[in-house]
């Protein structure tokens, strides 16, 4: 039993007593300990780095510096949401707009991000209260089988999605007549560069700075001069006149473009890694809500940009075929729109590579039970750093394979994520309702109802697409 006794008042720094018995010291990895020499203190380098970050939070809170407090606490929520506005998602939104106009999707995108908020708020809360990632909690609380199932699901969807991110960067670069090799070098270089900061705070700020560039899709929407009257009336317009499979594919891939397994793993682990506690829940909710609103606006930006192709020529876009999408936009909406869209795709892919690689690394460290923090050194957290860079390297290598089915991989990445998602969502709901873990921060009835509705919608979308597409592929029903 640990003898430390911390008072955790939200108004000021807690009073420490870091006297730990030998049994507690023995349970910690020996190489991560920094003792003071008297054999009584057990604080790892990771603890010290996190404590410095928390000291700034306590200082801002005790001096009532609200702006600074907000600046210090935002991050995981915005990154999860903007990270999910990745290359395939922005292409999916733009493709929806180009093929079917704004009708269904203008209200659908904010609704999906509201659903994403319900899920992400839960994992932020679990991370803040338990200080543990999703993977390790599932593994420890419900057994290794469920933990490893979750980790395998995540690894598969992450690798497929990472390939799609490299493809998105390649599409953007192709607009400037640059090739796949540069796309891989850019993606990998970013991962290694951000890892070299050796602090969660530095990694997060670089990723956040890059993620804000996602706003370029709002600029392209404005530059493509959408007809606002049409946009408003389109909200009440009927469903797209497409076949059932196409409609299900669109809905399933759009759901998969908004809520994915990696977001759950990432935000919970990043919340714990950042050092967010139960006293920061209000800011955590604000961070997640801000991320959902901003990502929704930028997603609509991509939809409206794509709709320029629908309203002017009625032509579809070949999203991942070379530089097809930005070039098609440049043709109908001007060179500036094409250039900014190409840059936006590069940014969307790059930020997603950072966040998805991080979620893979967190999950690997959590499931194996070794150090998994940006605040740890590469020597202490070997698996975390290797998995982070390795996942990106593996996906990057795939796009260099001549003749690899990149278009199919990219288009199916979101659908696969949607199909696998319900399992993670159910386990997350169980954790959020676990009073032994969550105490007074366990889910209320209203949150549970919303979460169950989200799981039902996601599950139904994935299953309906899977069954319908399969029956048509084996010609059991007509297309």
């Amino acid at each position: 039993m640990i003898e430390s006794n911390y008072s955790t008042s939200s108004l000021g720094p807690p009073t420490p007593s870091t006297t730990l018995p030998a049994s507690a010291r023995d349970s910690a990895p020996v190489d991560s300990l920094v003792g003071r020499g008297d054999g009584r203190r057990v604080l790892s380098n990771e603890d010290m780095v996190r404590a410095r970050d928390r000291a700034r939070v306590h200082d801002a809170r005790s001096h009532r510096k609200r702006g600074k407090l907000l600046w210090l606490l935002v991050g995981p929520g915005i990154l999860a949401m903007l990270g999910e506005n990745d290359g395939p998602s922005m292409i999916a939104y733009a493709s929806d707009g180009a093929q079917f106009g704004l009708g269904l999707f203008l209200p659908f995108i904010p609704l999906l991000f509201a659903m994403a908020y319900v899920c992400q708020e839960m994992c932020m809360r679990i991370g803040a209260v338990t200080h543990r990632g999703f993977g390790e909690l599932v593994l420890q609380r419900y057994g290794r089988v469920w933990g490893w199932f979750g980790a395998v699901d995540l690894t598969v969807t992450n690798l497929v999605t990472l390939v799609a991110e490299f493809v998105a960067i390649r599409v953007g670069l192709a607009y400037f007549h640059l090739g796949s090799g540069l796309a891989v070098a850019l993606g990998l270089g970013l991962v290694v560069l951000t890892l070299s900061g050796r602090r969660y705070w530095r990694w997060e700020r670089v990723a956040l700075g890059m993620a804000l560039f996602n706003g370029v899709f709002l600029v392209t929407a404005i530059l493509s001069r959408p007809h606002l009257g049409k946009a408003v009336t389109a909200v009440g317009s009927p469903l797209p006149s497409a076949g059932l499979t196409t409609l299900l594919l669109l809905i399933a891939s759009t759901v998969g473009a908004t809520i994915t397994p990696w977001m759950i793993f990432f935000q919970q682990s990043a919340t714990a890694d950042k050092g967010i506690t139960s006293s920061d829940l209000a800011h955590g909710r604000g961070d997640t809500a801000a991320g959902a609103v901003v990502a929704s606006i930028f997603g609509i930006g991509a939809l409206v940009t794509g709709a320029a192709l629908f309203s002017r020529h009625g032509a579809g876009i070949q999203g991942f075929a070379g530089a097809g999408f930005p070039k098609a936009l440049a043709h109908v909406a001007g060179g500036a729109v094409g250039t900014l869209t190409a840059l936006g795709l590069i940014e969307a892919g790059a930020v997603a590579i950072l966040t998805i690689s991080a979620s893979t690394a967190y999950a690997a460290g959590e499931c194996v039970g070794v150090s998994h923090s940006f605040n740890s050194s590469p020597r202490t957290a070997v698996l975390f750093y290797v998995a982070n860079a390795g996942a990106a390297a593996l996906a990057g290598a795939v796009i260099l394979i001549p003749g690899a089915p990149l278009l199919s991989i990219a288009l199916n990445a979101n659908v696969l994520a949607t199909v696998l998602l319900p399992m993670s969502l159910v386990l997350m709901l169980m954790l959020a309702n676990d009073k032994e873990l969550m105490g007074p921060w366990a889910n209320g009835r209203a949150v549970n109802r919303m979460a169950i509705a989200v799981i039902a919608v996601v599950g139904a979308c994935g299953l309906a697409y899977g069954i319908d597409a399969f029956l048509r592929t084996v010609n059991l029903v007509g297309s």
């Binding site: 640990i2 430390s4 911390y6 955790t8 720094p13 807690p14 009073t15 420490p16 870091t18 730990l20 507690a24 010291r25 349970s27 910690a28 003071r36 057990v42 604080l43 790892s44 603890d47 010290m48 996190r50 404590a51 410095r52 928390r54 000291a55 939070v57 306590h58 200080h131 543990r132 390790e136 909690l137 420890q140 609380r141 419900y142 057994g143 199932f149 714990a272 050092g275 506690t277 039970g369 150090s371 089915p405 199919s408 199916n412 696969l416 199909v419 696998l420 319900p422 399992m423 159910v426 386990l427 032994e436 873990l437 599950g459 994935g462 299953l463 899977g466 069954i467 597409a469 592929t473």
Partner: protein, 85 residues
Amino acid sequence: MTKQPAGATNAASKEVVGASESQYSGRIEDELAGHLDRGQLVVETSRPVPRAVLTTRVATGLWLLRVVVLLASALVIYVFVAQLH
């Protein structure tokens, strides 16, 4: 009065300085550690949370969902492979 050799004085003063530096860094460490909740310490998070007991109903529900999810994934992967041809 016995005069101490200069080397001994230097060693003693270095020891005093070393001790005060150690105390100083210990104080800083104390202050910083005070900003963390107990449960945030690596030594705490490295210890597993107690295992929950899943009722038969919950365990069956989870396995059913797992089977459905795997079947749906298999369908999606089949369609993906079929599209390649």
